[in-house]
């Protein structure tokens, strides 16, 4: 009995020390990383300054390709944000123990992605100064308004989810971290709102977390389904499809899981958490990723087989362009390199180790981004009526440097929010009640 208690004490001390260390110690690589991200953001800000000054004319978007990489980037970020619900809802409600250390990473990624999605959609507006007209002159019939409502709902729920799971750990930071700057102490004190691990408080928090875990799921499905309706409610080839909702949602889960794997890899490496994010986590994530990719593959086949078999009118032209035309290299890279090949590779145990699976996940993320490019742009270039009598520049779409720098800056924002949140708070939930044996990896881990 006392031996078990000793272990538990040692385990808890060790755990606290390991998981709070990165908050106290700021490494050079962290500073360089943040500096790099800020630099990218500054370059993007200059691009956006030019866009504000001269208008959307600085982009390569024109009357036919009226949506470009801003919109595909928006869809990408909305997709990534779905992963929060995967961990804090689906895996949690199914009582998976292994996924618990990854919950906070997923919640942070979700919050960051949804913020970036909102920012990028404002960047895409021709009149960002009229943003609040969306509230002032709101027309509920418009799918854009549905999207605005559901995205803000998801942002709020995601923030609350992140905060509630963080609350006991923030209180711990408040109590344990004495050697931090004043502003940090103040931050922890305010954020911990008098949390004292009181049984009453714990019971209440568990209740709230459960309600949130259930309520976030339909909202998460809805954000990407509604985003798909921005396309599915029009007549464009490739968009005019009843398959688009589940197609988007399944693709989002795949991309989100890949994002988690990449985040796991870097967090483990730079915060030295090998004992907390183990190879077994990567293995399990790999299996999960295969499952999610197979679902996405299924909807992909559904999305393309029908139109490709029939080859009707502009729908056929659009498919031809993707399969063998201008966009064929990108299309096959996305479908093979970003979907089929990862599924095949991840079936092998050796590929589910941390490094190979992180590389595979990078390909999935790249594929996911370019897939959204392929969803948005080629469809717009195949209208029912032929494109004639306009300026030559209207026929093609090659994003300008302003568009690329702004898009890269949105990625930098995404990573910066994640980095700062990880730096401020324990990335693995510390408060944990589990049986501890002497052979527990944390006790035996040598640094």
């Amino acid at each position: 009995m006392s031996k078990q208690g000793e272990h538990k004490q040692e385990f808890n001390d060790r755990r606290e020390k390991d998981l709070l260390r990165h908050i106290l110690k700021t490494s050079l690589s962290y500073k360089l990383w943040v500096g790099f991200l800020i630099l990218v953001i500054l370059i993007g800000t200059y691009g956006y300054y030019r866009q504000l000054k001269y208008g959307l004319i600085v982009t390569a978007m024109r009357d036919y390709t009226s949506w470009g990489i801003y919109i595909s980037n928006f869809v990408f970020f909305v997709a990534i944000s779905l992963v929060g619900s995967l961990f804090s809802s689906i895996l949690k409600l199914n009582k998976n123990e292994w996924s618990k250390p990854l919950t906070r990473i997923s919640e942070i990624i979700a919050v960051s992605a949804i913020i970036c999605a909102i920012v990028i959609i404002i960047v895409d507006m021709g009149r960002p100064d009229r943003f609040f007209y969306v509230i002032k002159y709101l027309r509920i019939q418009s799918p854009i308004i549905w999207d605005v409502i559901i995205i803000s709902t998801y942002l709020v729920i995601s923030l609350i989810l992140l905060y509630t799971s963080l609350l006991p750990d923030v209180a711990l930071c408040r109590d344990r971290l004495t050697a931090v700057p004043k502003w940090k102490k103040k931050l922890y004190r305010i954020m911990a709102i008098n949390w004292h691990n009181d049984p009453k408080q714990v019971a209440m928090l568990q209740k709230v977390t459960k309600i949130l875990a259930i309520s976030v799921l339909p909202v998460a499905f809805a954000i990407h389904t509604v985003t798909s309706w921005l396309f599915a409610t029009t007549w464009r080839p490739g968009w005019d499809s009843t398959n688009l909702g589940p197609y988007f949602v399944s693709g989002a889960f795949m991309a989100g899981a890949a994002a988690i794997i990449i985040a796991m890899y870097f967090i483990r490496k730079f915060i030295n958490l090998n004992a907390y994010i183990t190879e077994s986590h990567f293995d399990k994530m790999g299996k999960l990723l295969v499952l999610l990719s197979l679902v996405y593959l299924y909807f992909n086949i559904n999305e393309y087989l029908g139109p490709a078999f029939k080859m009707v009118g502009v729908e056929g032209e659009h498919i031809t362009e993707l399969f063998v035309g201008k966009y064929a290299p990108m299309y096959w890279f996305v479908q093979l390199g970003g979907l089929v090949l990862p599924i095949v590779l991840l079936l092998f145990k050796g590929m589910r180790r941390s490094l190979p699976i992180s590389i595979i996940s990078t390909f999935i993320i790249l594929g996911a981004w370019f897939k959204r490019f392929l969803i948005v742009i080629p469809s717009l270039q195949h209208p029912y009526l032929p494109i004639q009598g306009v300026d030559e520049s209207y026929l093609h779409y090659n994003p300008t440097w302003e568009e690329w720098t702004i898009t890269l800056a949105s990625f930098a924002w995404f990573l910066l929010i994640i980095t700062v949140l990880i730096k401020l708070f324990p990335i693995i939930p510390i408060q944990k009640h589990e049986h501890v044996s002497k052979r527990h990896p944390i006790l035996n881990f040598q640094k």
């Binding site: 001269y54 004319i57 507006m125 021709g126 943003f131 002032k136 854009i144 306009v390």
Partner: protein
Amino acid sequence: MEDNEHKTDSRRGFLKKISTGSILAASGLAFSSLSSCKNKSTEKTTLLTPDGKLVQVPNSEIEAMEHLYHGAPPKEARKGIPGKKFVMVVDLSKCKNARKCVQACDKHHNLTPDRPYIKVLEMQDNEESSPYWMPKKCFQCDNPPCVKVCPVGATFKRTDGIVLIDNERCIGCRFCMAACPYSARVFNWGNPPEGKLDIPYSPETSLPSKHGTVAKCDFCPDMLRQDKLPHCVSACPNGVIYFGNELEDAVTNGEETVRLSTLLRDKAGYRYMEELGTKPRVYYLPPVDRLFPFEKENSENKTS
């Protein structure tokens, strides 16, 4: 060109007959709204007010009223012209791509040639049939996809059938452009080419255009308010475009006035992509018994 202008004048007669009252009503309005300002001009013109009185108005004040005909201000422009349901019929058998409609439209809407509202498309229905020219404007659909998707109600459908845009409300999301199956809309990607036009904004003329907002063919409601034909109709040298009021079942191309229902029945009128259910207000007459051979270059469009 000289010739055309004379024609235009004579064409005005038709619509004038339909409602002379509205012009007089407008001049009455002109008088009452301007009577407060003092003018020392001695020359005066006698006008009839809506309540039947003859009044004298200084000439300078009549000139000032021309501004009102730039089109109604945004709030007013949301209501249609009472008693009208505008409709257009394009006779494809008469079009030789003279491009006069495009030029007139560009001129009056301050557009550059690379980005016109009207596009004259080279169409071919199938491999065997010969190509033809298809002038395409906004179809002013009765079930407009663009209006349905607008998040802020910046684009709207009026009682007279016209779909307009309020560019003081448009947020520039471009969802309407994605939603329009006919690619009727254009966007002000940069600053408008004309620079600053010093006139009050009206959705009825789409002028002055604003950067970051959407625009399109508007059926020239400012002309319609004056009982004149839209610029493209009066500019066409071949009488391709018929325009009129559906409620009166009559359309004119400026030279001949015909019964709308008879014209559509006899010449097999159709609406482009009827199957989408958008209910366009623009009809086409198929390119049969053509007046001109299909030529990419001809005497009339070469100089343009």
